[in-house]
Assembly symmetry: C2
Homo-oligomer: 198 residues x 2
């Protein structure tokens, strides 16, 4: 069974756009996306990279760029008014569910991505995030408790460090074996790499 | 007659790759590329943006990324061992020829792009640059004198400032009317914009 890794952070606009295109990529290649939660802020700190939004001219442009891709993909996309979103708790929630093998891991990812990039919620606010998770059918209190366990914190830190060690400097980042591809705009190269892979 | 603007700096790898694809873009759209020389270093200084090569992990990746595009495009590409190239004199030469309406302006662009990104010459060295220009049929001494005139210096400075005022933060940057597109990897969007334009 072929697979590829999808390293992401919910707070990354490009990660959201890429995530919307994963089903099409999986269908076209017969490969499975292995979700790899990481903390983009930690990646930035370790590599010296930064959000394009930190450069005013780039930040202004990049929204137009993302909107063009959203239109091309035919997906909903609204710039989150609370950007940048502190995703520490949200990413911990993701890795905690994944570690437990919780079958709702992907539902959680959908709920969080959509809350930020479609519904424009202020996911910095734990109360708002809790309500969004409850609406998506989660026990928010239990999930936040799980996300706050030391083992969860350590797991996200370790995952982020692994990403950096493998050369990741931004999100999303894809791996097909050892081949790394950065950006939602490189999924055609990921597709080609998967089609060549045995 | 439809046209689009191509803002570039010879020292930008992505500008080179984009330049190789301009004929195909012109053929597909019936539009003409208007070459717009600028000094990328000046754009970086004005906007706070920087070369991806300044972030070690990004610099390492980006060469693989450019190589993938070169392969896709079927064009020669060799990373220049003297990167980053100080292109001040080279860009002044371009804008000087363009201002004079010299019919060899595009030959000059070809000679310089190829010297850096195909032949891997050290174009920081005026002697090496002169030899390359002589081989391409230019009177290098006259060209360097022209590039060093105050009017030339002012013109490049003004062009770079215009770019920044229009929102440019990197190279290459395309304009179709007021629509801005950054990167050699956005030429498909430029094509779409041109096909929609009347």
């Amino acid at each position: 069974m072929k697979s590829f890794e999808f390293w992401f952070d919910f707070g990354s606009t490009a990660s959201y756009l890429a995530w919307t295109q994963l089903p099409a990529l999986e269908a076209a290649t017969g490969a499975t996306a292995v979700f790899k939660p990481m903390l983009l802020g930690g990646v930035f700190q370790a590599t010296g990279n930064q959000s394009p939004a930190n450069i005013p001219a780039k930040g202004k442009y990049i929204f137009a760029d993302f909107s063009r891709f959203a239109k091309r993909y035919g997906v909903e996309f609204n710039m989150n008014p609370w950007f940048p979103v502190n995703t520490l708790l949200l990413m911990r929630g993701a890795i905690a569910l994944q570690m437990k093998g919780d079958p709702r891991f992907k539902d959680y990812c959908r709920a969080v991505f959509n809350a930020i990039w479609v519904t424009s919620l202020n996911m910095n606010d734990t109360a708002v995030a809790s309500q969004a998770l409850v609406r998506a059918g989660f026990d928010a209190t239990a999930l936040i408790a799980l996300a706050s366990e030391q083992a969860t914190k350590d797991a996200l830190k370790a995952a982020t460090q692994t990403a950096v060690e493998r050369g990741v400097f931004g999100a999303p980042t894809f791996f097909v074996g050892d081949q790394m591809f950065w950006g939602q705009d490189r999924m055609d190269f990921v597709k080609e790499a998967l089609q060549k892979a045995r």
